[in-house]
């Protein structure tokens, strides 16, 4: 017989023993909705790995990008230009050293598991994975990596990454363009495109000799990694995923309940973050649509159990890839739409302040920041699988090479020394019209729905209030 005291102790031990399981169970609301773990299906694999999911290289590039964005504002106006440039290049073009993770970094009670780049993946860089085509939205007829390097050099010479003489906000330009040139381009124009072909990285062979994942498993995982969603995204609302990226909701971020945020699986990055920002408005569902398509595709590949995919399985996979590509593109188009609206609003605000004789320097900085985001996203939109043709031409011409400046000039090109050339710009009224046209272009060509900062929304709301103009009333 156990004494009462012993009974209590036994219950206590039982509760204590079960608690971690209960907490883990709560954290994984539905593990079948998680992107991984998935079993090893490679035929003849003799290693000890039990989980075939692997996209740490992509997470490393997200972290390189986040860190590079932070460093882009490290310039002090010229004196530290060389050092600032070297530091940025270490994250952009790679480094032999085990560099520190500058962002995302721990803060207060929000502890991040990894602090050094090599703890994610060794030897990764952004430069060799950037869009190889010519970037028509930026002066100089440069390729993707050339544009990013050019911007890095310019950023190093500015104070805080902002060049008042051109209105360029480099952290925004670099970040928004790199997200497209690296993540979007690599995913939709490489992994979800030619690498889905039957004879390219087949599912019946390991990705590379000795690897514990098949060709198709890894191709699919790498594309998912570039999307930037946390592995447990489908258990979270769009708002929660947004808070994960903003480091504002530790409880939902820490999926395994270990008290640390694992960047490899518990963080929202890049376009997945932008998708969540639109989806939390309730009009769209980009984040879950894309993530679900990735998960469904991965389950399909896993179910093939290391055999080559049949034509019908591959057709299904291509259909998932199309859903992913289409929605991903729309997320970038929604962002372009939003920042065209912000630029419009900023110009109106500056016009108002100038008329009142007020100092516009802060608003101008805000305008430049928004313009940098607009430009970066619009350039990113052109790095996808399809040549946007006339849409790209219109987009680049409407936005121009630089924001319209307070002295009514604008960057129109670069000379042989890499210095910017400026010329007379459009009036602000006309430039605002260009922003409206950018928004209309995004509606017409990409069917954007969230339409954040819609500058004609008020007109539509008024038209609704006034009612149909088609009534045939004979007064």
């Amino acid at each position: 017989m156990l004494s009462n005291k012993s009974k209590l102790s036994a219950v206590g031990l039982l509760v204590a023993g079960l608690s971690p399981l209960m907490i883990a169970g709560m954290a994984y609301a539905d593990s079948s909705n998680n992107y991984g773990p998935f079993p090893v299906t490679v035929k003849g694999y003799e290693g000890s790995a039990t989980n075939s999911v692997s996209y740490s290289g992509q997470i490393a590039r997200h972290v390189l990008h986040d860190s590079l964005k932070k460093l882009a504002s490290a310039g002090d106006g010229g004196s530290n230009a060389k050092a600032a440039e070297a530091e940025m290049m270490a994250y952009f073009a790679g480094s032999d050293k085990n560099k520190a993770i500058i962002s995302p970094a721990s803060k207060d009670d929000y502890q991040i598991k990894q602090t050094l780049m090599n703890s994610l993946s060794k030897g990764k860089k952004l430069s060799n994975k950037s869009y190889k085509g010519v970037v028509n939205g930026w002066p100089g007829q440069m390729t993707g990596p050339e544009v990013l390097e050019f911007m890095i050099k310019k950023a190093a010479m500015t104070k805080g990454g902002f060049d008042t003489s051109t209105g360029y906000n480099y952290p925004q330009l670099i970040s928004k363009f790199a997200m497209g040139a690296v993540f979007y381009n690599q995913a939709v124009d490489n992994y979800l495109d030619e690498k889905l072909a039957a004879d390219n990285k087949p599912n019946s062979k390991p990705y590379k000799d000795g690897k514990h994942y098949t060709g198709k498993e890894h191709v699919w995982d790498e594309a998912f990694g570039y999307w930037g969603a946390a592995a447990h995204t489908l258990n979270l609302s769009a708002k929660e995923s947004y808070e994960v990226a903003k480091k504002k909701n530790f409880a939902v971020s820490d999926a395994n309940g270990d008290g640390l945020i694992d960047l490899k699986s518990e963080m929202t990055f890049a376009h997945a973050y932008y998708a969540s920002s639109f989806d939390k408005g309730g009009k769209t569902n980009y984040l879950h649509t894309v993530t679900q398509a990735f998960l469904d595709g991965r389950k399909l590949i896993t179910a093939a159990n290391g055999e080559a995919l049949t034509d019908s399985e591959r057709a299904k996979l291509v259909a998932y890839a199309d859903v992913i590509g289409e929605n991903w593109e729309r997320v970038i188009a929604e962002s372009t739409f939003k920042y065209a609206g912000s630029v419009y609003k900023d110009i109106t605000k500056m016009e108002e302040m100038l008329a009142a004789g007020e100092d516009v320097s802060k608003t101008f900085a805000k305008y430049s920041k928004h313009w940098g985001e607009l430009k970066g996203f619009s350039m990113a939109l052109q790095t996808g699988k399809h040549n946007l043709g006339e849409t790209a031409v219109k987009l680049n011409r409407l936005i121009g090479f630089g924001p319209v400046l307070l002295n009514a000039s604008q960057v129109t090109g670069i000379d042989s020394n890499g210095d910017y050339l400026k010329d007379e710009a459009l009036s602000w009224g006309e430039y605002k019209l260009h922003m409206l046209k950018v928004q209309k272009l995004m509606i017409d060509k990409f069917s954007v729905v969230a339409r954040s900062k819609d500058q004609t929304a008020n007109m539509e709301a008024l038209a609704d209030k006034l009612g149909d103009s088609d009534s045939a009333e004979n007064d």
Partner: protein, 339 residues
């Protein structure tokens, strides 16, 4: 399913406060009619009831054709409406144009108070709507081609609230374009000047001024209840009896009282006529009330025939004029050659 849209469109006309024949407005109009007949015309409640719900009016050939046209036109509306220029299309064009010409510094207008802007917009929309209705209506009477269409409305010999829909579909297109133009213009100019501060004061989702006119018995304009206003008020607002006079066949009443809500335009442009007792009026185009004048053929096809006939006649005149001009040139040429 187009027929579901069709039924919901009909239902909407009675349930949507933006529509003239919204049941709420109809009930209020009936109430006003009772007051008028009992207090002004000294009828008993029973007499007033039978006067208002006069079966000779509501079951007349004219009214029956109104009902048919209302139903048939809903089908036309379903198919024609999507093809028409919308107020948003016009608003967008004007909005873009305003940015392009960049005529004045918009920021000047951004400091006005929200209340002032909303009030101005509400009044502007109403005034622009009312004055354009006046002019379009006037042209409907003055231009032969348009009159061929508008005659369909005037062929009603009895007036009921549904007579406002006794409209040829082509005339409906003209009205729709007018509406799109006025709304598109108002919206674009105000949003350009005042940004997101622009709004409309509404009751039940309807412009407060339009709502006021509708609860003030606008449905009685097309009715057999001849409510008249004081003489001075009929210079400002059109009374139901003034509009009923507009439907009179008497020559003295032709081309009078084109206004929709305000009589000001008629007064300003010389087409105002004060009301008379409706009992003394004969309504319609030629006073006849035979089967044919209310037939669907007369209402839908005949106007098209008239327009074609009129156009052919005009072309003949043009051809003769061109021939005469040619002969004159030829004669002059011969005269020059002879010299």
């Amino acid at each position: 399913m187009w027929f579901l849209d069709f039924f919901s469109n009909i239902f909407e006309h009675f349930s949507d406060p933006k529509k003239r024949i919204f049941l709420g407005y109809i009930f209020i109009s009936i109430g006003i009619a009772f007051f008028w007949l009992i207090l002004q015309k000294k009828l008993s409640l029973r007499q007033a009831f039978w006067k208002i719900f006069d079966k000779k009016v509501f079951f007349s050939k004219s009214s029956k054709s109104d009902y048919s046209v209302f139903i048939i036109n809903r089908i036309f509306t379903l198919f024609i409406s999507p093809l028409l220029l919308t107020q948003m299309a016009i608003a967008t064009i004007i909005f873009h144009l305003l940015h392009k010409i960049d005529l004045f510094n918009v920021s000047v207008f951004l400091n006005f108070s929200k209340v002032w802007i909303v009030l101005q917009f509400t009044i502007f929309v109403f005034i622009l709507d009312d004055i354009t209705k006046y002019f379009v209506h006037r042209w409907m009477h003055k231009w032969p081609i348009l009159w061929s269409l508008h005659k369909v409305h005037h062929s009603a010999t009895k007036l009921t609230p549904l007579t406002i829909y006794r409209t040829h579909p082509l005339e409906g297109i003209v009205f729709s374009l007018r509406g799109a133009f006025t709304q598109g213009t108002s919206i674009s100019i105000f949003v350009y000047l005042f940004g997101n501060s622009v709004d409309l004061i509404t009751i039940l989702g309807v412009n407060i001024i339009v709502f006021t006119f509708n609860i003030a018995g606008s449905n009685l304009r097309h009715s057999h209840i001849g409510i008249r206003y004081w003489n001075w008020l009929e210079y400002i607002f059109i009374s139901p009896a003034q509009h009923q006079l507009h439907h009179s066949i008497a020559e003295a009443h032709h081309d009078k009282n084109f206004g929709a809500s305000l009589a000001l335009w008629d007064w300003l442009f010389g087409s105002l006529h004060h009301s008379t007792d409706i009992e003394s009026l004969t309504l319609g185009v030629d006073g006849s009330e035979n089967e044919r004048s209310h037939s669907l053929h007369t209402l839908y096809i005949k106007p098209l025939g008239e327009i074609i006939f009129y156009s052919v006649e005009k072309l003949k005149i043009l051809k003769i004029s061109i021939c005469q001009f040619g002969i004159r040139i030829q004669n002059k040429f011969y005269a020059l050659v002879k010299q």
